[in-house]
Amino acid sequence: MMKRAAWPIASAVLLGYPLIFSTPFQQRLGALILLYAIGASAWNIVGGYAGLISVGHAVFFGCGAYGALASYQYLGLPPIGGLPIGVAASIGIAAIVGIPTLRLSGHYFSMATIAVAELVRLVVSNSEWLGGAQGLSGPPVPRTLLDLSFVSALPYYYVFLGVLAAMLALTRQMERSRIGYYLRAIHDSERAARTLGVPVSRYKLYAYMMSAALTAVAGALYAVMFGFVDPESGLGILISIKMLIMAALGGAGLLLGPLAGAVILVPLEEFSNSLLGGVGAGVTFLVYGAIIVVIARLQPGGLLRPIPGALRKRSARAKS
């Protein structure tokens, strides 16, 4: 009963939020929550379902963002027109990086992804063509509607909501298909999965490429909304860590985990940023850190993961 009501209520809340909370700050906040949820959901496919903890997804985010703004800069396309370029670059890089690194185990994989992300950040910072340390900008004045340059955050909110819904539907489909089962098997025990005939290396690479492609979509949307990207905001290690933290906080490997994480952390961060310069910034980031620590301590599997005790209670009730 509860479960059947949950979806319409959630949809109504998500659709109605920017109309009820209609100040520019609140609408912008909503759009940012959805944007981060898109990024974290993309990360979730490889980090959550397959259990490959990438700490270098900023590379793919950067591909999307730079792809969008470079195709405006050099081809005169509307930034969103660069999306296929960014996604293609992202998939290419995922294949090149994935083949040598995906065979590394656990922490070594994480460290290799950090190194690759830093490598790409440094290369882009020194590349004149990609704007060097200054970065690239989008059209200063919107030329057509296709430039998707709006003053209000409202249109972005609904665009992002649509993209997030599509991405979650895709993930849900993946969960129930062969690749989903394979990834969870690999997550639980790579050796056992291999023994049972799962083509482990191939499916890890598929998951990595799929996650990379979707992360590039998040990057392109970021570039469209902000009309600007530089090595720090597009490729910095903090981008990779944020995707990971949001997914892990809500529940990695769960469909709605990343969204839950974004709903909690993005507002905190935005309040901090709006107070930046005052003493408030330091204090709110202390709160941010404390929340993460407390959740890691009390709910190590993420907020949405059912507590083992509660599960037992429910099944006991079902039996009686």
């Binding site: 980090g47 903890i53 700490v55 040598p100 690194t101 065979r103 590394l104 185990s105 656990g106 922490h107 070594y108 994480s110 460290m111 290799a112 950090i114 190194a115 690759v116 830093e118 490598l119 440094l122 290369v123 020194n126 290690i237 860590i241 990971l244 933290i245 892990a248 906080l249 990695a252 003493v279 910034a281 330091g282 204090v283 980031f285 202390l286 941010y288 850190g289 404390a290 929340i291 993460i292 620590v293 407390v294 959740i295 890691a296 301590r297 190590p300 599997g301 993420g302």
Partner: protein, 287 residues
């Protein structure tokens, strides 16, 4: 060989020794508990601030700052272990990243809140001047850090391989349940490991502060170097971290000299990924 080249190699070695110093603490807990400490860079940062406070309050140099930093950080490490780390080591790897990254934010923004954002430096006169050694010149602050790095790394290695305490710690690292059945208390050993690791990290911070700026965000930069050093050396291997540190230091300085300063880190990261590809457990890690 020209004297310029000898100079490049020498500064590479000194830089590498410092990398090894602030990585040895990380590799110790990594090997002991299989935890990546994302707050590691912020422990280094606190060590640097201890040196800064020792200088502003007492006018003391490294002779005072190093033991104080070791004590302060060791206590902090043990407190962190009992309050947080003990509870997250049994969780999934993501919970460990989450927990230690949260700890990093807490430490970073406590420093931010207390000391402000401005970059600070210790006066050069504290450990001043350069020493002429043969045809080359070496900054004494870096020489001091390099020498202490070697001493601390060797001491840690001897402690782990030659003492009863070390054997107990390694036993816990190998199999905590079996060690407990043998009458070793895993909790106590792991707390000691955190204390030791944090002390080594504090010493590193106190020495680096003599030639590097101090700011709340400095840990982020240093942490990446430490991660690369530790995984190149092999998790848990103290000699591995030393070898990897020296190697990275030399590669960095030689490529800065030969290709250009902006490319040095690119070369280091590329070689790191290549090295992991060829040897997936690092230089001295166990398969």
């Amino acid at each position: 060989m020209s004297s310029t080249f000898i100079q490049v190699i020498a500064s590479g070695l000194l830089l590498g020794a410092v990398y090894a110093l602030f990585s040895s603490g990380l590799t110790l807990i990594w090997g002991m508990m299989n935890v990546i400490n994302f707050a590691h860079g912020d422990f280094v940062m606190l060590g640097m601030y201890v040196a800064f406070v020792v200088w502003t309050v007492m006018g003391g140099g490294p002779a005072a700052a190093v033991p104080i930093a070791a004590l302060v950080l060791a206590s902090l490490g043990i407190v962190c272990y009992f309050v947080l780390i003990r509870h997250i080591t049994r969780g999934p790897m993501l919970a460990q990243i989450l927990g230690t990254f949260g700890l990093a934010l807490l430490l970073r923004y406590s420093a931010f809140w207390y000391f402000g954002t401005s970059f600070r430096t210790l006066p050069e006169t504290l450990v001043g001047g350069t020493l002429p050694i043969g045809p080359i010149r070496i900054e004494s602050s870096r020489l001091l850090a390099g020498v202490v790095a070697l001493v601390v790394t060797v001491c840690l290695h001897l402690l782990l391989t030659r003492t009863t305490l070390g054997s107990r710690m390694l036993a816990v690292a190998e199999d905590a349940d079996a060690a407990e059945l043998m009458g070793i208390r895993p909790d106590r050993m792991q707390a000691i490991a955190w204390g030791l690791a944090a002390a080594a990290t504090g010493i590193a911070g106190a020495l680096i502060a003599n030639f590097f700026y101090v700011a709340p965000s400095v840990g982020e930069t240093l942490a990446i170097v430490a991660f690369v050093t530790v995984s190149l050396g092999g998790f848990g291997s103290v000699p591995g971290a030393l070898a990897a540190g020296l190697l990275i230091g030399i590669v960095e300085q030689v490529s800065a000299y030969a290709i250009g300063a902006i490319y040095k880190d690119i070369v280091v990261y590329a070689l790191f990924v290549l090295a992991l590809w060829l040897r997936p457990v690092g230089l001295m890690g166990r398969a």
